[in-house]
């Protein structure tokens, strides 16, 4: 009858599990996720995760950008590094009029859409006043000086653009061309004159409008009403942005670290509003989901299972206390109390896990208790008692082995709940801010108004991951149920 389940039970389950369709799907998904979680450092970039809260790290990424495969008409980001042998970078240096100059020309091709920004990072070292000159050459052959042109006697100091000591400095400098250009001063000094010299009529309000779109305007076809045109046509072709650093210091050294023409799309699932690569967050989240899911479900089911069996078997006062405690926990609405606790204690992820375990054990305990009550009445237990078996022997030899299958199914089925609850807490902003979980990503999405702004790539994937991981465990739990039920029926 029920004695067939026992020590051979374990092996049977895994072989039975493999036989059901549901079990196969569930098991393979589980293996996939376990692999992704464990081998994340090999697939993904651990640095991305370590720097998740470090906004500087993500400076060079487009913000709130959709994935490139989902967007048709957009500029694809390209970047070059100093010393790289590519047609997109031309390095020159030399001497002219007593000044040493070092120049980097960054070339990029525009098809239908221009980049949203050009970012350049240099490592520079000088000990005498140093200046910078930036130009852009358009496909239609027109040149724009974006800073003071030394040929006309105007020198722009590195102080103005980079905020560093113009006389002597050694270190990193960075420029974002769009923010530099979208600045009123730059517009008035360099862009307006250039536009006017190209027969563009400008009203005063147009100048104000330029503070939003100066950078992209430079990539448009030059027409007299370029500012007010309803349809924006971009000039396609090769653009050349050249950075020239010049100084009387013969030891001037400038090394290009990276130059990027930033497109409107990025990565596999795009970026969030801080420019963070969501794919990394998505993959790394698997780790935490599995850790949370497993620790909560295993611990609460084990504690609950043993508690229930012991209470059910021994009965009496122990049982009564356990029953009432479980009843109280059962009637408490979990999420509100969790939120309250989270607000009071500002917990780390381990506190959250502990709280979930504390709320989770009663449901298992109640079931195992009734199972123990039933098994207690069986004749073979009576027989075992008659021959003098100790309680612990009966518990371990007769009761626990029959309860074990249910516990396994229970573990599998509790995982999604744990993951969901933690995600809910993180979504409300009450999670552990030092770790990257899907709930947290969704929280940041909601705060940034992702739903209202249509950033579907930010909203859809994390929730999808939560759902799929949850489904994996439910499928496994269902398969376990399918195996257990026919036996229980008999």
């Amino acid at each position: 009858m029920s004695k067939r389940r026992g020590s051979s039970g374990f092996r049977r389950f895994f072989s039975d599990l493999r036989r059901t369709k549901v079990g196969i799907v569930g098991l393979s998904l589980l293996i996939l996720f376990l692999g992704l979680a464990i081998f994340f450092p090999l697939i993904g970039n651990m640095n991305d995760i370590k720097n998740w809260n470090n906004l500087q790290y993500w400076r060079d990424n487009p913000k709130a950008a959709p994935p490139c495969w989902a967007v048709g008409n957009t500029f694809k980001s390209i970047s070059v590094t100093g010393g790289e042998n590519t047609s997109n970078l031309i390095e020159r240096n030399g001497e002219l009029d007593g000044f040493k100059y070092i120049s980097y020309s960054f070339l990029y091709n525009v098809e239908t859409q221009p980049p949203i920004d050009v970012i350049a990072r240099f490592n520079i070292s000088y000990s005498k006043p140093t200046y910078v000159y930036i130009t852009m050459e358009r496909p239609d052959g027109k040149y724009i000086s974006l800073t003071g042109n030394p040929e006309s006697g105007e020198r722009t100091s590195v102080l103005d653009l980079f905020g560093v000591d113009p006389n002597s400095y050694s270190g990193d400098i960075r420029i974002q061309l769009a923010s530099y250009l979208n600045n009123m001063i730059t517009i008035r000094n360099y862009i307006v004159p250039w536009l006017q010299s190209n027969n563009v009529t400008l009203q005063p309000q147009d100048v104000f409008r330029l503070t939003n779109v100066a950078f992209s305007t430079l990539h448009q076809e030059l027409t007299p009403n370029i500012i007010n045109a309803k349809n924006v046509t971009y000039l396609s072709g090769k653009y050349n942005v050249t950075f020239v650093f010049y100084s009387s210091d013969k030891n001037l050294s400038v090394a290009l670290e990276k130059a990027i023409a930033l497109g409107g799309c990025y990565g596999i699932v795009g970026t969030d509003n801080m420019g963070r690569d969501l794919w990394m967050g998505l993959m790394y989240g698997i780790r935490w989901a599995l850790i949370i899911g497993f620790s909560v479900s295993i611990m609460s089911v084990l504690i609950g299972g043993i508690y229930g069996v012991v209470g059910g078997y021994f009965g009496g006062k122990t049982d009564e206390i356990m029953l009432r405690t479980a009843q109280v926990f059962y009637s408490i609405p979990v999420l509100p109390i969790l939120i309250l606790l989270a607000v009071i204690f500002r917990p780390s992820i381990w506190n959250v896990i502990s709280m979930l375990i504390i709320f989770g054990w009663p449901s298992t305990a109640l079931v195992t208790r009734s199972m123990a009550l039933q098994i207690k009445e069986e004749t073979y237990v009576e027989a075992a008692k008659a021959i003098g078996s100790s309680s612990s022997r009966i518990l371990f030899r007769y009761i626990l082995p029959q309860v074990l299958p249910y516990l396994f199914a229970s573990i599998a089925l509790s995982v999604p709940g744990a993951i969901l609850t933690e995600a809910s807490l993180s979504f409300l902003g009450l999670g552990d801010p030092s770790i990257v979980t899907w709930g947290r990503i969704l929280n940041e999405a909601e705060v940034a108004g992702a739903t209202i702004n249509g950033y579907w790539w930010w909203v859809l994937p994390p929730g999808l991951m939560i759902t799929i991981v949850g489904m994996t465990f439910i499928l496994i739990g269902q398969a376990l149920d399918l195996i257990l039920n026919p036996k229980l029926r008999r």
Partner: protein, 369 residues
């Protein structure tokens, strides 16, 4: 019959005891909460007060210091920060149990700052939304589950199993975000927030009372307005709940259909319809009714997160507002009402179950849940 009365009495008492213990726990938590969080609020308010006083040249520094002190003390009394912890917890328990909740610092919902009235306002909205949604899910789920049970492994049944698995793993609030994305943002068919429903209703009734629209169009517009604001949250809740519920029905019914009395009923020449509804469903009713009732009542807590996503002014959102605004009595009242309703339902169900399943009458003081 006497033992039946005794059984019920024992259950009622133990459930009420559970309620009191829960209230004690909540009170203890909130007292602790007050100490930590509210203390901070008091400090902020005192600082504000001090800044305002600083602008007043008519008072001497000593006078100002005295006023600040008095203000601080008044605040501490008002927020219940004085006195020893045990008596604080005790008093809070009494207040919560008797629903003597006082008022909140601001009006968060409805028209009055009285906490009880705000809770009633929120409860009403939660009932409108979640109750309706759960009711719809139950009805559709029942029909689907029954159909699937009659044709196991058929198309509907397999789809049902899939949706059940989906239901159990979908975060409801995430589905809500998706609904907003698709139907409010991309298609503009529905609003992005549901809070304005009361404003819209108000405007509507103003129009009605000023005579600019007829009664019929008022009624239609009234319904349409509610539906407009309610459609997305309602659909979300129904979509996420239906799968799991139908699956439970299906399993219970399949279980009952395999029992021997079904074959007996068929052998007696009863029509298939009579067998299904008269015997199978009736035998399946104890677990189904209790599960249905429990989910109806659980829905009364509102779903905190889903309501915040949609901005639906229900119990869930009220709780969240209470948390973010540091209103302990509002928190207490909200949680207490939810738990109270839950426990009352359990008590009623325990009694009801006896009538549904005659076997329970004689099986002792164990409660079914």
């Amino acid at each position: 019959m006497a033992s039946l009365g005794r059984t019920i009495a024992v259950q009622v008492v133990s459930n009420l005891a559970a309620l009191i213990i829960i209230v004690a726990l909540i009170s203890a938590l909130l007292v602790f909460y007050s100490q930590t969080i509210l203390q901070g609020v008091v400090v902020e308010m005192v600082q504000e007060f001090t800044r305002n006083l600083a602008r007043n040249p008519a008072l001497t520094p000593e006078q100002k210091a005295q006023l600040i002190n008095l203000y601080q003390q008044a605040l501490e009394v008002r927020f219940g920060l004085v006195g020893n912890p045990i008596s604080k917890v005790y008093h809070m328990m009494i207040n919560i149990l008797t629903l003597n909740l006082g008022s909140s610092r601001n009006v968060y919902m409805g028209n009055s700052a009285s906490i009880s009235s705000q809770i009633i306002f929120a409860l009403k909205n939660t009932v409108i939304l979640f109750f309706t949604a759960t009711l719809i899910s139950i009805v559709i789920g029942l029909a689907l589950g029954l159909y699937a049970a009659r044709k196991p492994h058929g198309i509907i049944d397999s789809l049902l199993s899939f949706f059940a698995v989906l239901s159990a793993s979908l975060p409801m609030w995430w589905v809500g975000m998706l609904m907003l994305l698709v139907f409010a943002f991309w298609n503009h068919w529905f609003p992005t927030q549901s809070m304005p429903v009361y404003f819209a209703i108000q405007q509507l009734s103003q129009a009605y009372h000023s005579g600019s629209i007829t009664t019929l169009s008022y009624i239609l517009e009234y319904l349409r307005t509610w539906l407009y604001y309610m459609a997305l949250p309602l659909t979300t809740v129904v979509l996420v709940s239906i799968g799991g519920w139908a699956y439970i029905v299906r399993n219970v019914v399949i279980g009952k259909m395999a029992e021997d009395f079904v074959m007996t009923a068929r052998a007696k020449g009863l029509s298939e319809r009579k067998v299904l509804f008269g015997h199978v469903l009736r035998a399946a009713s104890p677990p189904i009714v209790t599960t249905a009732a429990l989910s109806l009542v659980s829905s009364l807590g509102g779903a905190i997160i889903s309501e915040t996503v949609f901005g639906w002014p229900g119990m869930g959102l009220l709780f969240w507002i209470a948390i973010t605004n540091s209103e302990p009595m509002l928190i207490a009242g909200n949680v207490y009402v939810t738990v109270l309703l839950f426990i009352i339902t359990i008590i009623i169900l325990n009694i009801l179950y006896v009538f549904l399943d005659p076997r329970i009458k004689t099986s002792g003081s164990q409660q079914v849940f």
